[in-house]
């Protein structure tokens, strides 16, 4: 489990994260959403130990990530949004580096590469950005780590690859793993992320499971306009409307509509979900 307590971080004078407190539990795939520059990547890099916290603390199973202890690093993998084109084949790369993660499974790596229709014998510096990204995703999943942090993993992937990515994440991750995926493209991950974390400038606006969201908010897809809608957007064949779920009705959460609702009614949403 990851416990974040009063976390603060700034770039020089510019505060990015302030008093962030939350816990990330095992067996969940967290979706980290937020506008550009709110600190999604910063939070991920703090969690995996690439940056040191300025205030507060992060505790990952008793480890401070910034200490970068090998025993801690061996149980986590961070997939950056920008990946390096190495001067070796994907298979050589996996053989060369996979041995550092105790749970690394070469067969699994080759299998996931197959799911992505990627050639493991191809040199990484000859791959397109999408192929390279898929190689790193395959490697990250084959590492079988408890903690997996992915920054914009679907960036650069074509449409079939996005579906393959969803399939791979649900099929090839451990039951007890904590996966945190930061993304702008919520539709790519709509069916796999739960809970959802929405970051705002220096703050967490929402950290709730899909079940909790659908208990408290109602997503209406009809053509009739709701008088008490918090958010309304026209779509072909009707509207997406979000309102408070006062009657306990069931509805399917639309993450994009949720994101816009949260941004338009920050204090209201924080009040509802922090009760």
């Amino acid at each position: 489990m990851i416990t974040i307590k009063d976390l603060g971080f700034s770039y020089g004078e510019k505060a990015v994260l302030k008093n962030i407190t939350m816990t990330l539990e095992e067996g969940r795939i967290y979706g980290l959403l937020g506008e550009n520059g709110v600190g999604k990547t910063t939070l991920l890099t703090l969690l995996c130990g690439l940056k040191a916290v300025k205030s507060g603390s992060i505790d990952t199973d008793g480890h401070n990530p910034y200490d970068r202890e090998p025993s801690f690093l061996a149980d986590q993998y961070y997939l950056s949004d920008e990946v390096a084109a190495m001067n070796m084949t994907a298979l050589e790369y996996a053989k060369n580096y996979g041995k550092f993660w105790d749970g690394f499974d070469m067969d699994k790596f080759v299998e996931i590469m197959g799911v992505f229709e990627n050639d493991p014998a191809q040199k990484m510096n000859k791959m397109s950005f999408g192929q390279l990204k898929k190689t790193y995703i395959s490697f990250a999943l084959a590492c079988n780590t408890k903690y997996l942090f992915m920054d914009e993993p679907t960036n650069g992937l074509d449409i079939p690859s996005k579906a393959q990515f969803r399939k791979a994440v649900t099929k090839y991750t451990r039951e007890d793993s904590v996966i945190l995926i930061s993304t702008h493209q919520v539709r790519d991950l709509e069916n796999i992320i739960d809970p959802i974390i929405i970051l705002d400038r220096q703050d967490v606006l929402l950290n709730a499971s899909v079940e909790e969201i659908s208990e408290k908010l109602y997503f209406d897809y009809s053509t009739e306009k709701l008088t008490d809608a918090l958010y309304c957007e026209m779509i072909p064949g009707g509207n997406i409307q979000v309102a408070l779920n006062t009657e306990g009705k069931d509805s399917k959460v639309n993450i994009e509509a949720l994101f816009n609702t949260v941004h338009q009614h920050k204090e209201l949403i924080k009040g509802i979900f922090n009760k």
Binding site: G49, E69, S71, N87, K99
Partner: protein, 293 residues
């Protein structure tokens, strides 16, 4: 922090092997081209040039090959840290490198061994080895670099003795002993072997310290450092020279340094180099320790 998290020999072995492989992929070809192709090219060009100009089959002489050797080693020392470790300051590779499950100390030791020992040994060995083969096949080269260097050192010792014998009557006996010891000391291989760390470490530091323009900035930093040292030391050296000239006018011997400096030149040089090298190593260590992405 557990001891196992600071340094583990088994994990270090794995890391070093992987570092070696990555370095071979990034710099192996450049290393071989520099260390093997350069002596071969110089040999072919010289043979061709001499054949055309004078109609003689004459290989490159010792000085040309020694110059090429120095150029090749400079190219290797300057390029290698940037090609093998320069990428750790880039987000793409650096974030992976920092989160790779090996300790900072293991990464540092591997980096040091690769830069200061493995690559220079391979570079020197390849160049000298090929040079020896060429010279064995073609005696017009006039002996390999290794035999040339050992001859040079023997000549230095001999010329020192000759000079002293000639001037023996005008130099006090204690100074003759000092100069003899000095000649023995400056021909000691250890005086030069540890210099390799002093040459490679600044470039390794530049590679991990600067985010861009690593080689150029390292040269500028070295130039600035040398200038600063010169500015600081010039008044002392000038005063020393003035004192020496005044001493000569007064009939004192030229040697005004404490004899201990001459007698323990290797030790003093090793200590002073060690201080500089340790300072550089500490700088590299802290850079790795505090590197963030």
């Amino acid at each position: 922090m557990k001891t196992n998290d600071i340094f583990d020999f088994r994990r270090f072995g794995k890391y070093f092997a992987s570092d070696l492989k990555t370095c071979a992929a990034n710099f192996g070809l450049s290393l071989l081209v520099t260390a093997l192709l350069l002596p071969l090219t110089i040999y072919c060009i010289t043979i061709g040039f001499n054949a055309l100009m004078s109609g003689l089959w004459d290989g490159p002489d010792m000085w040309l090959r020694a110059t090429c050797f120095c150029i090749a080693m400079i190219c290797i020392v300057v390029q290698m840290p940037v090609k093998c470790y320069g990428r750790i300051t880039e987000k793409q590779y650096g974030s992976f490198w920092l989160t790779l499950p090996a300790s900072r100390l293991e990464k540092f030791v591997s980096m040091f061994l690769m830069t200061c020992i493995i690559v220079p040994v391979i570079g020197v060995g390849s160049f000298i080895g090929l040079d020896a083969i060429i010279c064995a096949l073609d005696p017009t080269c006039g002996g390999s670099l290794v035999t040339g260097v050992s001859e040079l050192f023997s000549n230095m010792l001999a010329s020192g003795e000759v000079t002293l014998n000639l001037a023996n009557e005008s130099i006090p006996i204690e100074d003759v002993e000092t100069i003899n010891e000095f000649m023995i000391q400056i021909t000691s291989p250890w005086l030069y072997i540890d210099e390799i760390f002093g040459i490679t470490l600044p470039f390794l530091m530049g590679a991990v310290f600067f985010r861009s323009g690593k080689t150029v900035k390292t040269f500028i930093a070295l130039f600035a450092f040398s200038t600063a040292v010169s500015i600081i030391s010039t008044p002392f050296m000038t005063q020393l020279a003035v004192d020496m000239m005044n001493g000569v006018k007064n009939g004192d011997p030229m040697i005004i340094f404490d004899n201990g400096i001459f007698m323990n030149l290797v030790l003093i040089d090793t200590i002073s180099d060690a201080i500089v090298n340790i300072a550089l190593m500490i700088g590299i260590w802290f850079r790795i320790k505090t590197l963030k992405h």
